[in-house]
Symmetry: C2
Subunit: 488 residues, 2 copies
Amino acid sequence: MSTALERLRTLARERAVVATSAATIGWDQETYLPDEGHEWRADQIAWLSERAHELGTSAAWGEALATAEAESAAPALTVVMRRDFDRATKLPGELVAREAQASSLGKQAWADARKRSDFASFAPHLETLLGIAREKADRWGYEAEAYDALLDTYERGSTSAGIASLFGALKPQLREIAAAAVERSNKRNATLPTGVYPIAAQKEFNALVAESLGFDFKAGRIDTTAHPFCTTLGPRDIRLTTRYDESDFTSSLFGVMHEAGHGLYEQGLPVSEVGLPSGDAASLGIHESQSRLWENHVGRSRPFWEKWLPVAVQHFPALAHTSLDDFLAAIHRAEFSFIRVEADEATYDLHILLRFELERRLVAGELSVKDVPAAWNESFRDLFGMTPPDDAHGCLQDIHWAMGGLGYFSTYTLGNLNAAQLFAAATADPAIAAGVAKAEYAPLLSWLRNKVHAKGAVLTPAEIVTQATGKPPSPEAHLAHLKARYLG
Amino acid sequence: MSTALERLRTLARERAVVATSAATIGWDQETYLPDEGHEWRADQIAWLSERAHELGTSAAWGEALATAEAESAAPALTVVMRRDFDRATKLPGELVAREAQASSLGKQAWADARKRSDFASFAPHLETLLGIAREKADRWGYEAEAYDALLDTYERGSTSAGIASLFGALKPQLREIAAAAVERSNKRNATLPTGVYPIAAQKEFNALVAESLGFDFKAGRIDTTAHPFCTTLGPRDIRLTTRYDESDFTSSLFGVMHEAGHGLYEQGLPVSEVGLPSGDAASLGIHESQSRLWENHVGRSRPFWEKWLPVAVQHFPALAHTSLDDFLAAIHRAEFSFIRVEADEATYDLHILLRFELERRLVAGELSVKDVPAAWNESFRDLFGMTPPDDAHGCLQDIHWAMGGLGYFSTYTLGNLNAAQLFAAATADPAIAAGVAKAEYAPLLSWLRNKVHAKGAVLTPAEIVTQATGKPPSPEAHLAHLKARYLG
């Protein structure tokens, strides 16, 4: 192997050691950190993040990369590394530190503003964060509009115009499906039996399910947090988290299945390539395709519950008299609601369409910060036919902007589309379909490992989907899935 | 304040940020790390440890220290910082890395050798680690013997000759007390009632007790590990661990009281001085004085159980018919045993005397590695009147040598002596004695905070004990305590 390439692997591995150290400390912050430990913890994470940034923008890295390029040692890999290196080095340390500071203050101000539903107190922070996002976009450069450069951070190869056109075409169909699903659901009015679903039993049940999907507990675990997430503390150390509701075991279960989808992807990345694009997840839209596939296409399906409802009954006596049909109706309940993270599958994408459009206009300067609440509510009325009672249930509900995460939201719907397209392509294989019909997922996971996980981030998200499914990314499978499940 | 001193504080704080990051990752390794995460974890800890060493031996640190010395900015503080800096810089990076490597291999070889009770397979590792210890001592320098330089790492100001003379004088008295305690205990033959002491109830009870001692759960927590320890992840983030035995709740309880003693010390160090000797624990012997004080002088005392036995009965129905006298007899049971970590208070120090003497002869070259098992067994017969059945129950039982921790063991007995002397001095104050008699410990903790915790590591351990108690360190209080409890 080229010595320049070998050098790059070593540097990338070191940066991953540092970045995963920050992730470990961040995981502890969300799971076990005592109250008064937060201030010091923030200093630890900041120090480690700065070192990771330094390593990834170092002269040594730049030289090894230039040599590897000149030698054509691994052209597909170095193209992506060049892009990442240039993007990283285009941001001066001062800007990175300023963004970290603004995001830290922004999150605090947001949490406080949301509590009091007081957008005005958050507005100056959003203004600052928006300015930083525009400054980053300007430094990175873009062809059509600044929002493209932000989008490219999360979903390489996507453009604002492309997503706008996709979402524009989707909108009428998603509205129609959502409205019909809600109407049908209201008639049926199915709910889970009331009763206590003990947390200890939920933990046991969730672990059985996660294991049956293929999540490897020798290289991962599940803990409890206020907001569920999945994080990678090392190539063989993937942590999932969930939260528990004693009156509804499906809340923690679908949380675990969603995060296990992310975790299976991380456990399937090539360990030997750690720190390099060839060992990294392709994009947020591909990551979300894995979480949504296991949560929705597997976890909310009839064959899954044919196997697992009897097991659930053993864990939760409250379910003893629930038929499979009633149970499925309850977990397929659709309703219009104000909060994205509580939205069901049939209405979820509408929340994303709203955010994408608003964000794009904000970054372009077509919408000013002070007008966000009115614009949000108008758009919400248009999509959902109802008005948020306050900004806490409207434009203040998500943490993303407060963290400086502009350009992020559309990846949730891209994930839904990818999930459906990948699941349809996989289950076109009779052996995989037969497994899925028996709630046996080894063949499905094996297909995802080969077609998605093993690919790393060398191909673009669109290339991965195209190669895996034989078709360019398209919303067809997602729409067909929603119609079959919610209107069928 | 002197700008050089201000600069030192900043550098010391940064080093503490990095060192506590390594500690956080190390804590997770012992508590929650999945099996396959260990390899990567070792790389993370090594990287962080190297950075901490680099920061503490940097030119910037050396210059700021020299300037602060020249300005006489804080002479007592800079004397200790000079000593630490010189000791750190006297070890070349190559030696530090070689020691880390040897210790990592040594621990693996030791664990394996102990399992098979095969000293020969561990001997070459001990030879290497002994060589490294001597090399370090040579580089640090010493007056009388190499062992002094090692001892000084853990217990500043102690000398081998001083400890040898102390232990020599103690030996006959400790043997006499131990023999008499064991004889009395055999006659009485008191044990805890058999039964199940549920782990959930142990956790609740332990937390109540730790809180009653003053351990602050807003700045700490308790988790479960194979071997109990206390570690500092930040100035307001102190983690204790313990292990549970369903047939004996006192095992986890005394573990928690011991580690809470360490934790109370760490919670009492001045936060503003973090990273500096003025914010650091004075020595292992002082640290162990705090753990032993709370574990033995408080936790195994009659007044403590007058209050807590009724609470324990509520948690553990198995105790319902146990009288206070029977309970105390059970927790004061003394017996000769092979394993140090399972030894009771009355026989514990004999295990230390043996190790100190052997270690000193090893480092001096008077005892060769191959002769360790025979020397151990001979010394054990002399002290305990019995022969270990194998090396796993003899010279292979402790991890310390395998980690390169030569010069460490004597601090356990120094801790016992300090604990007794500090407890006696504190309870000479009637208000503290009155609190202790009612199992109320705020006055005792306050005394320890002022006399020990707040002092940091600027004074020597002996100076701290002398100033706190009005007398130089002496074994009197410890011997008096053992006689009162075990022969009284």
